[in-house]
């Protein structure tokens, strides 16, 4: 337990200190990590805790990003987008939950996949609203509490702070009766229903909340990149977010953060392999999934457990020695 707080403190210190040691692109990548973490945390609620497969999280990031882009380029302040974006995603996510009441597993995966592709088509084709393939440029960065966020570093801290708020929210959800209900839904829906959990409502809720977090990620994404077009929100992003959740450790609280770290930063670190960097990344993912299906957090936990066992073993041995 104590070790966990030490790790948390080190991680926090690193996240605060890192931007001062990095160049602009590095800070941008860290900000991207924060944004993707938020979306992955949302997907982890839907998938990891409530057990509902969704291949549409990228679409919600897209909806959030376009909400922010359209509003802020028309002179609205970003906080309005922070309310409207997630709200819109919440409602759409709720509706997307309805198929989950009827079908599960791979069928649900395909419904959400189809939805995600539909959103992409709308973003691309409704030029009056989204400017289609030309995209929306010149998305302004906000002023927060009188601080201008134009520079990468302050904006990174803004992203980090938002991520922290989302993380606390998710922590609270997971430990609330809702979180318990989500897990009951994942483990055994029939039993959950027989115990009086309103599975219908919680399934929809799991989708809606997860999607709303995707929306928040999108609202941050737009001012971070400052130019959006439909292509980043194609199916690839949804698949990538799924990868983050699984590779990080689905159903673990810290899983999505680790997964987003791997997915956003590892390809960049592999750039020294030049043309091979995405291939190396793909191989890494395949090996990871083969050897630790519970994700990186799962591996960490296994190692920690092994240490604890050894220490416990040493302790009993010491006791034995004393007794003798």
């Amino acid at each position: 337990m104590k070790l966990r707080w030490v790790f948390a403190a080190i991680a926090a210190a690193a996240l605060i200190a890192a931007p001062f040691a990095l160049k602009t692109y590095g800070v941008y990548l860290l900000s991207m990590w924060a944004v993707m973490s938020i979306a992955a945390v949302g997907l982890n609620l839907t998938l990891g805790y409530a057990g509902q497969i969704s291949l549409a999280q990228g679409a919600f990031v897209g909806i959030g990003a376009y909400t922010a882009a359209i509003l802020t380029t028309h002179g609205w302040p970003l906080p309005v987008a922070f309310v409207l974006g997630p709200l819109l995603c919440f409602v759409v996510g709720w509706l997307l939950g309805y198929p989950a009441l009827r079908v599960q597993h791979h069928y649900l995966a395909f419904v959400t996949l189809a939805f995600s592709t539909l959103v992409f088509l709308i973003l691309r084709n409704e030029e009056w609203l989204t400017r289609g393939i030309y995209g929306i440029s010149g998305i302004p960065r906000p002023n927060v509490l009188g601080f201008a966020m134009k520079d990468p570093r302050p904006f990174y801290f803004f992203c980090l702070a938002t991520t922290l708020v989302v993380a606390l929210f998710a922590w609270w959800i997971v430990r609330s009766p809702w979180g318990r209900a989500f897990m009951a839904l994942r483990e055994n829906p029939v039993r959950a229903a027989s115990l009086g959990v309103d599975t219908r409502r919680y399934t929809l809720m799991a989708f809606a909340i997860g999607s709303a977090l995707g929306g928040i990620a999108g609202v941050l994404y737009a001012p971070l990149v400052q130019f959006i077009d439909p292509s980043p929100f194609a199916l690839g992003l949804s698949l990538n977010l799924l990868l983050m959740v699984i590779a990080g450790g689905s159903g673990y609280f810290l899983g999505p953060f680790v997964g987003a770290f791997v997915s956003v930063l590892l390809p960049e670190w592999l750039r020294f392999t030049e043309g091979l960097y995405l291939m190396s990344y793909a191989v890494f993912v395949m090996v990871l999934v083969a050897f630790c299906p519970t994700g990186l957090i799962g591996v960490g936990e296994r190692i920690a457990a092994a240490f604890a066992r050894r220490r416990a073993g040493a302790a009993t041995a010491a006791q034995d020695a004393v007794a003798r």
């Binding site: 497969i53 198929p99 009827r102 079908v103 597993h105 791979h106 069928y107 995966a109 395909f110 419904v111 996949l113 189809a114 939805f115 592709t117 539909l118 088509l121 691309r124 084709n125 199916l235 698949l239 799924l242 990868l243 699984i246 590779a247 689905s250 043309g275 091979l276 995405l278 291939m279 990344y281 793909a282 191989v283 993912v285 395949m286 999934v289 083969a290 050897f291 299906p293």
Partner: protein, 291 residues
């Protein structure tokens, strides 16, 4: 009317290709619970094996086709099963999904890096057109339909008419019972992977002259094959064929008569409607197995 006929023939040809891919997808799913997200890339790759055989090996087109088939059987059949599916299979469906997504990325990048990022022309099997009651029909489309029909009939005969084929079906329906009855389950699963490899190679050979060979081809093809498989019935080879042709015809007719920008959306609506109304697919039976 002639236009419509033209469109439908072209649609059936496209659909026949989708059907080949979807049938392979369904076979692999049935025997090994592998939702192969790299299926589209599997169609993209064999064309490059053939092109590489011609470019670097100096092989003639027919020889290149043979080399392409052999390489595909090894890479997309044996290696795919041994290196990607087998180590992950016991962890469940979702890790395997991730693994095949990564594989798709790997194959795309590999082709881009080691062959070419630009679309490559690919030799056609036939070039001329014939006129039928005012409709211009390309011989290529007829060849596609012919090859697909022969392939599917041969496959159906193999699955239903031979001992091995029936053992494969038994494996798909109940692997445990099949093993008790002395079926070598693992070998049967390997056979379905090999059949899938052969089917995607065939599809690659048929589709590449039309779309040109490009490393991103798999994205649309894979999606079309998914939709075809689900619309027809995820647990039915016949369903996958019907689904493929339906999607192909719909694709062409919608693009011509309704809205070109939303051409891709129609199959998606079809998919959502089918899953919600009849999740087992148009021809499928309700699944007894809870997966």
């Amino acid at each position: 009317m002639a236009d419509l006929l033209q469109l439908i023939v072209a649609g059936i040809a496209t659909g026949a290709i989708y059907a080949l891919v979807a049938v392979g997808f369904v076979l692999v799913w049935q025997t090994s619970q592998t939702i192969n997200f790299a299926q589209g890339e599997f169609v993209m790759l064999p064309a490059f094996f053939m092109l590489a055989a011609m470019k670097f090996g100096g092989a003639s087109f027919p020889v290149a086709i043979v080399i392409g088939f052999l390489l595909s059987l090894i890479v997309l059949g044996v290696l795919f099963k041994r290196l990607v599916v087998d180590p992950v299979l016991r962890h469940g469906v979702l890790p395997l999904v991730i693994s095949t997504i990564a594989l798709a990325l790997f194959l795309k990048e590999a082709v881009k890096e080691f062959y070419a990022a630009e679309a490559q022309p690919f030799p056609a099997l036939a070039n001329s057109n014939i006129t039928l009651g005012g409709a211009v029909i390309s011989v290529q489309n007829l060849v596609i339909i012919g090859v697909a029909v022969v392939a599917v009939v041969a496959l159906q005969w193999f699955l239903g008419g031979t001992r091995t084929g029936r053992a494969m079906q038994a494996t798909a329906q109940n692997p445990m019972l099949a093993r008790v009855l002395g079926v070598r389950v693992n070998r049967m699963i390997l056979y379905t992977f090999l059949i899938n490899a052969a089917l995607v190679t065939l599809a690659s050979l048929l589709v590449s002259p039309i779309y040109l060979a490009k490393f991103t081809n798999g994205e649309t093809l894979g999606l079309a094959a998914f939709i075809a498989a689900i619309v027809g019935g995820f647990n039915q080879v016949r369903g996958a064929i019907l689904g493929g042709i339906l999607v192909g015809v719909l694709d062409n007719v919608v693009a011509a008569y309704l809205s070109a920008p939303y051409r891709a959306a129609i199959p998606l609506f079809l998919l959502i409607a089918v899953i919600l109304v009849r999740p087992q697919g148009l021809l499928g039976r309700a699944e007894e197995r809870t997966v």
